[in-house]
């Protein structure tokens, strides 16, 4: 493994460890809760501050631990030569891909193991209609992840058909395609379980905040398959160009780059972090989540 890759990996690892340490500091949890409140334009009642903050950092902690575990294993594998030699640029992509996969796995575990209780003598609030995963994540991300994974698998098949050697990009693309498929399956299963889990809430504010955290977790989960599929596709289309596929491969490169730009712009414009509010709480006002306004308690 190249010295520069080792240095960058070590630096990122230290930053991640510092971030992990921060999740144990109460002030950080409080800051994250209010940051989320400001971004989403949802009032954060003082009595929910601690609960929301601790759930947000628990999710972050899971993501960082997952990233450190899977990313660390990848770094160790390359450093010891267990994964063989590859180009420095490709090694970095593998490690970053492993980090994304780790973030997805860690987030899923943290989200699925958390539990929330409401005292039995308090009023309980629930949504009267059923919610689905589609209410928590924008179509551009949910459908986009599936499309991106189909594309990277198609590129891997294209490389195999074009006769690329296993030493070339075929192995890398096949690796990213397999990882993208696995993390997409993880997203589909975990997101359904997260959204299907009960939402014990004692007030409207609690329910809105539970939705906010769920939406955030589901969005974190979808990042891994998208990132892995995009990496695999980029490597794959350049590999196709090298195999002599010629003009078709360059058209493919152009299409991938154009698709990425369009997806990024569309995603930025649609503000996907606030998507769940538009779907589940279309008439929500800032004051609706304040303690005095609609809390049933």
């Amino acid at each position: 493994m190249a010295t520069m890759t080792t240095f960058i990996s070590a630096f990122v690892g230290i930053v991640a460890l510092i971030g992990l340490g921060a999740t144990f500091v109460p002030v950080y949890a409080r800051w994250r809760a209010y940051q989320q409140s400001a971004y989403l334009h949802i009032e954060l009642p003082a009595r929910l501050e601690r609960a929301v903050g601790s759930r947000l950092v628990a999710r972050e902690r899971g993501a960082i631990i997952g990233a450190l575990a899977v990313g660390g294993a990848a770094v160790l594998g390359f450093a010891t030569g267990a994964f063989g030699d590859s180009e420095p640029g490709l090694t970095t992509l593998f490690i970053v891909g492993a980090v994304f996969a780790g973030v997805g796995i860690g987030t899923a575990i943290a989200a699925l193991t958390g539990k929330k209780e409401v005292p039995s003598d308090r009023p309980r609030v629930a949504r009267s209609g059923a919610a689905t995963v589609a209410d928590y994540i924008a179509p551009i991300e949910r459908i986009g992840a599936r499309v991106a994974v189909v594309i990277v698998v198609a590129v891997a098949v294209g490389l195999a058909v074009a006769g690329s050697s296993t030493d070339g990009p075929l192995f890398s693309v096949a690796f990213f395609a397999a990882a993208a498929v696995l993390t997409l399956v993880l997203f589909e299963i975990a997101s359904r379980r997260i959204v299907g889990a009960s939402q014990p809430a004692g007030s409207t504010a609690e329910l809105v905040w539970d939705d906010a955290i769920r939406a955030s977790v589901v969005r974190d989960l979808v990042t891994a398959p998208i990132a892995l599929a995009v990496y695999g596709t980029i490597i794959g289309v350049f590999g196709l160009a090298d195999t002599g596929a010629g003009a078709a491969a360059y058209v493919g490169i152009g299409a991938v780059v154009a698709g990425l730009v369009v997806a990024l712009v569309a995603s930025a414009i649609s503000r996907p972090r606030r998507y769940f509010l538009r779907r589940l709480w279309p008439d929500l006002r800032w004051s609706d989540t304040a303690d005095t306004a609609t809390d049933a308690a």
Binding site: V118, S120, D121, R122, P123, R124, V125, A126, R127, S128, G129, A130, G196, S198, Q199, P200, A201, T204, L207, A296
Partner: protein, 117 residues
Amino acid sequence: MLTIDPKSPVPPFEQLRLQFIEQVRSGELAAGAKLPTVRRLADDLGLAPNTVARCYRELERDGFIETRGRNGSFVSAQGDAAEQQAQVAARAYADRVKQLGVSPRDALAWVTAALEA
């Protein structure tokens, strides 16, 4: 939004049933809207699954919702099902009043008093 107050003198089953009816009538729950599963709603509201199941059964009996096998429960296309049900209830009351030999004037007075209570 559904709210169950454990300190209310109204039984949880009735609180739930009345809120569903109100939301269907007001259009907050539109025709075709899917309801949460019995287990999910019971967990969310801290009720026994049997309580929610009974509520769903009565709502279905009264024409507010319909069950589509394993797909779950959905709000029925309403029109004015509530008015239809009210008329059915009024008919049953009138029949019973006749059987008992009570005068229509007294029967109406009791209904009015009950509605205004």
